[in-house]
Amino acid sequence: MGTKDHEPAFLPGTLDMLVLKTVSRGAMHGYSIAQFIQEASSDVLKVEEGALYPALHRLEVRGLLKSEWGSSDNNRRAKFYRLTAHGRRELEHEADYWTRVAGAVTRIMQTA
């Protein structure tokens, strides 16, 4: 599939991982996912928020996330995303990979 993903100013592929990690704590809607990523990163990762949605839909189509409509804290209809078993495995796999890559990069940066 030749879809051109509009990646934000992240390392390629990291947005997916961050979304999966965020959602792994429980069902969340898009807005709260965006909020969480931003707050948890102490505003380092601040992006065009809309870019989150193609990623969410991509993960859903791949079967890593499952969505359902529910009501938000302020009683509005919102779409909640949940991690599937498949998504959980993918997250483990990516987190593992990230740790190794980040470790390697860090080591190089320290020694050089």
């Binding site: 898009g30 807005y31 928020e49 859903e60 189509v61």
Partner: protein
């Protein structure tokens, strides 16, 4: 792509609208939340809205991005292409109609023939696991391998020794007289040993089939009825089992009724009798008395070849143990579907190839039309390319267009095929077995889909190749209509050549089939079948006095002869009867039987060279009535019509074999070996060879020996030469036979010409369809040529105008255009003829006495050339009427 992705995307196609709505809601929710967030931080409503939007990014773009995640691209573009194709087709309904019609003819024809081929496949047999069923036939190595029936002792040995088979059953079809209920009737029955039914996997609907006990020679006589006979003669009596009926004056107890539709392997049986009753005990015990077939089922995993090699071994053992009867005797293991359908297959495969050619011609025609259209659309195509549509995308579009066209063709073709197959079966001179029911099943539908997709791709490739050739960038400049004309002409010219050569192959093929059938029909069968009616009677045996068969016994005229002669005289008196004769069997009626004989003074013979002849007992009028020429001597005299007579008439081959150059009259032969007890017979006449057992040739070249008709023969046939249409005599002759004895059943009533026709039915079937296909091919090819030539003229209007302006006469223009077409046609004919020669050996088995180098091929080519030239001439004539001024102004 992972499975969940495909699944989600496929689901999205149906739920598109809901997904769009959900996406809107989802994004709106986010914006609303962010707005609210800004407002709580003190921004006013309008600012909050702007800030939220800015932070979010382009809503339209992101929506597009999200939607993209759900899109199943191949399907979406396909749908788009299909919609586009439908739109363009709707814009030119005339083109669409013509193209769909041509394709429907091609695809429909292919579907029809394929459904016939599909219907005669092994699995079409209405039996359990039919692929494992085989027929076992005895054979003997003489000048060549000749197939024969089996003998009961041989069969029992095979059954006891062979390990390749689950079981084995003997069977043979015969006609018997059914009495005891209403009128006597001759019915077709099968003698079958008990495993016959379980081998076929068909069980009795009521009651049961035979037990192994009932198979034994001399067992209590029982029968199983067919559903048809049960309804027809027994009023579908629910208490049928235990009732009795009389066959050939013997009582039998009914033990069962078979399910509807089951008519045995002969496909004509109405009743089954245990094999023990097949023949008198003495005949059954004779190892040399061969006549019936055997059915067997291969054990799982056993191949025909391995079963064959086992049977070869058993045959050699039997040959050693019984050299007198089994010298050079073998067994042929033959798959049942080959037995039942083998003869039809080469013809149907040839027809399949022929109808595939028709489809190819139809495709070439439609491709030509598509090219013409693609030329008109060249600017559109070029524009699309310039706008970034890639070459693969364009190709896909063209192929989609082709496939849309062929899909319509396929739908129309399926309807056409459904009707065509029904008409074919109704009018076919070949009678297919009753269980052959061709129709549109999954197999056939898949075939049709495959064929239409393949044609669609071909159709797409033609304009694609053409567009590729006529460089798109140039088209944009619209330099001139003539610039890529030459290349375009070459492409179209090639299509014309293809059409012509395919049509030549079909026409030559049809010509050969017609010639072949005519050859067979024109063949002198050795007798004159015109205006001859034949019918068979069975005189109750009980009415005849004890047979006096001993040689040299006092010549009392036996009663059956008198009775036969009585019937003969009565029939002769019927108005419209020119001559009548009787015989135990008549040419081509399938009742001939053969035996070995010895000629006095001949050198000792082996099993391979032992002379064998078919015997017929006849009345003196036989040769005259059937117009079989008497070469030497005479026919029988009235005084010789006794069992004690030692006179014989032989066919020429007997005389040629033993007494070449001598007078055969007065020479002697006897049946059996020299040492046999049978009496010497003196030859009183020699007659011409007759195609007694098959056309165009007898299955074996054994000659015929004619003996006087005597009382022992309770079943015999009348040959009646009529001065009126023979079938009009059936009713009056039946009436005189009934008035002589109402208990005599009359059966196998047919005209001799029908019997001859039956021998050529398969060739006529092939010929007829080949003719239809060739005609369709010719028509399509001519339409194609006409279309291309017309187009060429239109395209060269300007050039023609200039030529005319420069002083060329109409004649020159005519020569220019016609010459152009003639070159293409000539090339097509040469290629077509070469292909015909190459393909000839594939159809050799279907032909009799012709080859491609036949006059009919010349006629076929001349016909095609004439019609094709006419198709060139008409546009050429139009070209001469071009107004030079107008032509030049056109640009």
């Amino acid at each position: 792509m992972e499975f969940p992705t495909i699944w989600h995307r496929l689901r999205a196609i149906v739920r598109r609208r809901r997904l769009d709505r959900d996406l809107d809601d989802e994004l709106a929710f986010h914006l609303a939340m962010r707005e609210a967030d800004y407002q709580t931080r003190g921004a006013d409503a309008a600012d909050a809205r702007v800030l939220a939007r800015r932070r979010f990014g382009s809503v339209a773009y992101l929506k597009e991005q999200c939607r993209d995640m759900w899109t199943f691209h191949p399907l979406e573009t396909l749908a788009q292409d299909v919609r586009y194709a439908l739109r363009t087709l709707r814009k030119s309904p005339g083109f669409t109609l013509v193209a769909v019609f041509a394709l429907a003819v091609g695809i429909g024809g292919n579907t029809a023939i394929f459904s016939l081929i599909d219907a005669i496949r092994s699995r079409a047999l209405p039996y359990k696991d039919p692929g494992a069923l085989v027929a076992l036939w005895g054979n003997v190595m003489r000048a060549r391998l000749e197939r024969r029936g089996n003998s009961y002792p041989d069969f029992q040995d095979w059954r006891a020794q062979a390990r390749s088979f689950e079981d084995m059953a003997a069977f043979d079809g015969q006609t018997v007289t059914l009495t005891g209920i209403d009128e006597p009737e001759r019915i077709l029955v099968e003698f079958a040993s008990a495993p016959y039914f379980s081998l076929l996997g068909v069980n009795a609907e009521r009651g049961r089939t035979f037990t192994a006990q009932e198979d034994l020679v001399g067992a209590a006589p029982v029968v199983v009825l067919s559903d048809g006979l049960w309804r027809r003669r027994f009023g579908a009596d629910a208490q049928i089992t235990g009732r009795s009926l009389t066959l050939n004056a013997r009582p039998y107890t009914i033990v069962g009724v078979m399910p509807p539709g089951f008519k045995g392997l002969s496909d004509t049986a109405e009743l089954w009798v245990p094999f023990g009753a097949y023949a008198p005990a003495g005949t059954m015990a004779a190892r040399g008395n061969r006549g019936f077939g055997a059915l067997a089922r291969l054990k799982p995993g056993v191949t025909v070849a391995s079963a064959q090699s086992e049977m070869d071994g058993i045959s050699r053992q039997l040959e050693r143990a019984y050299p007198d009867t089994n010298e050079k005797r073998g067994v042929e293991v033959s798959p049942l579907d080959v037995e039942l359908f083998g003869a039809l297959r080469p013809a149907l495969l040839t027809l399949m190839a022929a109808v595939a050619f028709v489809l190819l011609i139809a495709c070439a025609n439609v491709a030509n039309l598509l090219i013409a259209r693609s030329e008109a659309r060249q600017r559109e195509i070029a524009l699309r390319t310039a706008l970034g549509a890639g070459w693969p995308r364009l190709l896909r579009q063209l192929i989609t267009e082709g496939c849309v066209l062929t899909s319509f063709g396929a739908i129309a073709g399926l309807l056409l095929a459904e009707g065509a197959v029904r008409a074919l079966l109704a009018t076919s001179p070949v009678t297919f077995p009753s269980f052959v029911t061709p129709g549109i099943n999954t197999q056939v539908a898949l075939f049709t889909i495959g064929v239409s997709l393949a044609s669609g791709i071909l159709l797409g490739l033609a304009p694609a190749a053409h567009a590729r050739i006529s460089r798109l960038s140039e088209a944009l400049k619209d330099s001139s209509r003539g610039s890529d004309g030459r290349r375009s002409q070459r492409m179209r010219g090639a299509l014309v050549v293809v059409e012509v050569s395919l049509a030549v192959v079909l026409l030559v093929g049809a010509g050969l089939m017609i010639r072949s059938v005519r050859n067979v029909m024109a063949l002198d069968p050795g007798f004159d079948p015109r205006s001859v009616l034949e019918l068979r009677v069975s005189v109750p045996r009980a009415a005849a006095p004890p047979a006096t068969t001993a040689p040299g016994a006092p010549a009392t005229p036996p009663e059956a002869v008198v009775r036969g002669r009585t019937l003969l005289d009565r029939i002769r008196a019927v108005p419209g009867v020119a001559a009548v004769a009787l015989g135990t069997d008549l040419p081509l009626d399938g009742n001939a039987a053969a035996g070995f004989y010895t000629a006095e003074g001949m050198p000792p013979a082996t099993a391979q060279t032992m002379p064998r002849a078919y015997t017929h007992r006849i009345s003196p009028e036989f040769f005259g009535t059937l117009r079989i020429p008497i070469v030497a001597g005479r026919t029988f005299q009235e005084s010789e019509m006794t069992a004690a007579s030692s006179s014989a008439v032989v066919s020429e081959r007997v005389a040629q074999r033993f007494w070449r150059g001598q007078d055969p009259i007065g020479k002697r032969i006897k049946f059996g070996a020299l040492t046999s007890q049978s009496p010497w017979l003196t030859i009183v006449g020699v007659v011409g060879e007759v195609k007694y057992r098959g056309l165009p040739e007898n299955p074996t070249n054994d000659p015929d020996v004619y003996l006087p008709f005597v009382d022992r023969n309770s079943q015999f046939a009348f040959a009646i030469r009529a001065t009126v249409p023979p079938s009009s005599l059936v009713a009056p002759i039946r009436a005189v036979i009934r008035s002589a004895d109402s208990s005599i059943p009359v059966y196998q009533v047919s005209t001799m010409e029908d019997l001859v026709g039956g021998q050529t039915s398969q060739s006529r079937f092939t010929m007829w369809l080949m003719g239809v296909f060739a005609a369709a091919a010719l028509m399509l090819a001519v339409v194609g040529i006409y279309g291309v030539m017309s187009y060429l003229v239109t395209q060269r209007t300007r050039e023609i105008g200039i030529r005319l302006a420069l002083g060329a006469g109409g004649h020159d223009i005519l020569r220019l255009v016609v010459g152009n077409g003639a070159r293409l046609i000539a090339t097509g004919i040469v290629i077509g003829l070469a292909a015909s020669f190459a393909l000839q050996r594939l159809v050799a088995s279907l032909l009799f006495g012709v080859s491609t180098a036949d006059l009919s091929s010349g006629v076929a080519v001349a016909l095609l050339a004439a019609v094709a030239m006419l198709a060139c001439y008409l546009p050429a004539l139009r070209a001469t009427r071009v107004d030079p001024l107008q032509a030049l102004r056109q640009e």
